[in-house]
């Protein structure tokens, strides 16, 4: 695993959150692994979850199965990032 690959994936995940949820660049850049997502971002409702997952699939070239979408996936920015890393880098 190259470090730059992990950084690319992180950049893509931040860009998808910004683009799909309509968040500002500054707001998304300030996200840390501990930043809570689902339930804490009013922009992230169930319709937005669907768009977010599909856009991640398109940009990362991955497929996200139903059973992978549980409460933990979108709990925090860290959990979403870890999921994306596991899907792309392993």
């Amino acid at each position: 695993m190259e470090r730059s690959d992990a950084a690319d994936v992180e950049r893509t995940v931040r860009a998808v959150l910004r683009d799909v949820l309509g968040l500002s660049e500054e707001r998304v850049e300030a996200f840390t692994e501990a930043t809570p997502l689902f339930g804490s971002l009013p922009e992230l409702d169930s319709m937005a979850v669907a768009g977010l997952l599909t856009e991640l699939e398109d940009r990362l070239g991955i497929v996200i199965e139903d059973d992978e979408v549980d409460g933990e996936l979108l709990e925090s920015f860290g959990s979403l990032l870890e999921f994306a890393w596991n899907k792309t880098l392993i």
């Binding site: 860009a15 910004r18 683009d19 799909v20 319709m47 768009g51 977010l52 398109d58 139903d66």
Partner: protein
Amino acid sequence: MNPAEPRFASYAWRDTPQPMLAYGPADGPQLLVLQPLFAEMNRCRRLIGRTLRLLAADGVGCWMPDLPGCGESPAALASIDFRDWQDAVAAAAESVARGCGRRPLVAAFRGGALLDGIEAAAHWRLSPLAGRMVLRDLVRARLASDREEGTASTSAAIEAQAAEGEILLAGYRLAPGLSGAIAKAGLPSYAEALRTVRLEGDAAPADAYLPGPPLWRRAEPGDSPALAAAIAADISGWARAWAA
């Protein structure tokens, strides 16, 4: 009157007038605009409206039909199947051809490209996607709302239910003849010229990549004057090359 402001026009589908917005001059290049499907249509309404105003001001005539059961159409969506939409697009193209004396070019956004099976001098597409991906988004939205309400379901169960009867997906009541056909619908291929445009960051092949946000994914309708300007510039250059 500002020439870039839209006029209300219509086209006949099954002898019933269906709404169509017209922008710009009736001479020069004429463009039939196919909107994205379902929620994406609403999310892109402002973007496409802006784009068509820019094209109109630039001398490109634009015609944007509402499909039966969509937008301002008086038809009930639950009574519509995929063939009805294909027929409606053909009828709208005929209506433009009769009014302007020439067949329009076609510009299709997202899932609208699935319906561009008509004869045209050339076809332009923004971020097209296969029908099964359109259905997948609807099913996924339904899954997410089911989960929010505490109902356990799966994509397979929802798709099976859609095949059997009318189903409510992401707020749209769909007949089996529509959801099933969309699931199978592929992007038409043409003997004529095709230009495909996508957004920067998209890994899929395209003739050009434009900078801007995928507004069709936004849960809240968004806006991007810069993306509208980039789309209008791309379509304008392409339409003029074909009209020349």
